[in-house]
Assembly symmetry: C2
Homo-oligomer: 366 residues x 2
């Protein structure tokens, strides 16, 4: 599918669906974000586990370069090894090398069978083990695997209309997981449920609910998707978008929790998100009922400590949200100097006058 950069993601998804195809990019902002934006930020979302980030969906690009030249690489070839793959440069460059004006996208078969569940697990390491089991049993059918801590579910149930806890008792952690297949498969739900049941038998999960209707499926997804809304009602917050190798996530969460407890006593950690990709939204809410701005005052110290922890785990301080303006200094601080130097050389080579989205991604060098 080839589309202009101003097209809204939700409309592109609909256009693909009307041709019986899936555009597997799923984001909270899909009703407003545009194709140019999701290419330029190499967007992620809840389907990365199965389909990859935006980079893996882009077959071709049209880009206006800083000198006004149009780079026409809109062909939708799967294989092309003619010289450097220059279009890769503009994916995730946040508009600092050129303006993406159109893209050719890879589409996938529309799922014809799917099943959705929320599982309760004792701890993040069990969530990882559950992911391994589901993949063992169902392979690539595992499309979504999102970690949700108890506190996030509480925030959502407290503030989001019609949201309710699907379990009878409280659990420490939850996972929203979906499996899907492109061909009809009447067995998929049964295999999914039996893998979940085996995980419960073995103590990897403590409980699970599966959606038996589209309304139930939407209700489960809503619990995951409204976490930002729930958190907004709980006072001041800090947000970090980090990734480490998935196997390192449980330890990262524990070390991060200790760090927050030390730097912002009483503050509440909301670590949730794309467990299968090693990507967490490592957010912090002010202590319940806090009236002062202590959390805001601690923001810089907390940000620094969280990013130091990420660096110790050789992770990313911006897994899917990019650098923008806010993290220009953080990128300069944490990035490998050789990589940072390459980025500056590329910027200088393609936009020597620095007119493309100035002030974003890279700091000016004196």
């Amino acid at each position: 599918m080839t589309a202009d950069a101003g097209c809204v993601l939700a409309e592109l998804q609909e256009a693909a669906a009307s041709a019986n195809r899936l555009l597997p990019m799923s984001l909270g902002s899909e009703g407003s974000c545009t194709l140019g934006g999701i290419v330029s930020t190499n967007a992620g979302g809840t389907s990365v586990l199965r389909y990859g980030m935006m980079r893996s969906l882009v077959l071709g690009l049209e880009v206006v370069l800083p000198d006004g030249t149009v780079l026409d690489q809109l062909g939708a070839l799967r294989k092309d090894n003619t010289g450097y793959d220059v279009k890769q440069l503009f994916i995730g460059a946040e508009g600092t090398l050129g303006v993406v004006t159109a893209a050719s996208l890879r589409l996938w078969p529309l799922p014809a069978a799917f099943a959705t569940a929320m599982a309760a697990v004792p701890a993040p390491k069990d969530a990882l083990a559950l992911l391994g089991r589901l993949r063992e049993a169902l392979g690539d059918a595992v499309t979504t695997f999102e970690l949700v801590p108890r506190i996030a579910l509480e925030f959502v149930c407290r503030h989001v209309e019609s949201a309710r806890d699907p379990f009878e008792r409280a659990h420490n952690w939850y996972v929203l997981t979906e499996v899907s297949l492109p061909q009809p498969d009447s067995d998929l739900g049964a295999r999914f449920e039996s893998a979940l049941a085996a995980a419960i038998d073995d103590g990897v999960a403590t409980d699970a609910v599966t959606a038996t209707s589209e309304a139930q499926r939407e209700a489960l997804w809503r619990l995951r998707e409204t976490i930002p809304e729930g958190q907004r009602h709980e006072g001041a917050s800090l947000k970090h978008d980090v990734s480490v190798e998935p196997a390192a996530l449980p330890r990262f969460i524990e070390e991060g929790r200790e760090l927050i407890a030390r730097l912002a006593p009483g503050a509440r950690l909301i670590a949730y998100g794309h467990l299968g990709d090693g990507n967490l939204h490592f957010n912090v809410s002010a202590p319940a009922g806090a009236q002062d701005d202590a959390l805001a005052r601690a923001a810089d110290a907390i940000g620094r400590a969280v990013h130091d922890l990420v660096a110790r785990h050789r992770g990313s301080i911006s897994a899917e949200h990019g650098i923008g303006q806010l993290k220009v200094g953080e990128l300069a601080r944490y990035e490998d100097p050789a990589a940072l130097d390459l980025m500056h050389r590329i910027k200088q080579a393609i936009d020597p006058q620095g007119i493309m989205n100035p002030g974003k991604v890279l700091a000016e060098r004196g």
Copy 2:
């Protein structure tokens, strides 16, 4: 998996298999090609349809830059949007920007179920239709889909020891196709066979044989993998490695056949390969028994005409083999000038003295 650049692909495949994982890169040269080489050439092969080219398997890279700096991007993060993804530059750059010294690779589950078949089809358009049907029925399980013309099968059966035609009568075209799943699935073979049987009923395929033992599977694969060997015994040849959008392939083959008949009367077209990726090895063998060097003398004119045809279809003149030395002039001729200019700017920015693999990919500019 992280490995040094000198490791041989077959050894990496074995290492992955011993950890119950698949390194899905499958090439005729896998017994000798090294990791550094397949990264630097963005290798393709017979698993691209399902798993993508080398670029999609690289999670991290270590590269020595022209000034001796080591770029350490070996982390195996699935998501990392911190600035430009500089490692992408070195994948497929054929060593002209730096020397790849190690890589972290994405592994996949080892297939636990698979089925292999050779189908006979009337024409390339039927092969495409068969691919659509198999994907409809089996989704992503379709791992391999390789087009083989009758003449290639004849060459192989004539010259390769123990190779034999698996069909009772001759057919115009063949497809080697394999489906696989990461989890055991006793139904896979039956679903594959029923999709093939339906295709025969509807005239999309004329016949099909499925492998019922590992020996039969190997024999079918051997028919595909020894095409270059078979062709070698048939006298002088010309090779072109081209891609177009898959839907354009049938027309491309017909137009290419007319072109060869005009420029090299009696020469034999061997158009085979990765149909599902739109990538054909569009090879030409001298007329049977030819003793003169007419084909060699026509080589430049044929190459130019084939590449002109590719350009009219907005395809690639080097789908998986890269540019090297031989195609430096062809790249300069056919590449979009804006893209070519970007390549030169990148080369100048990273290797200003031109010391990395000089003479490859890009011509020196005066």
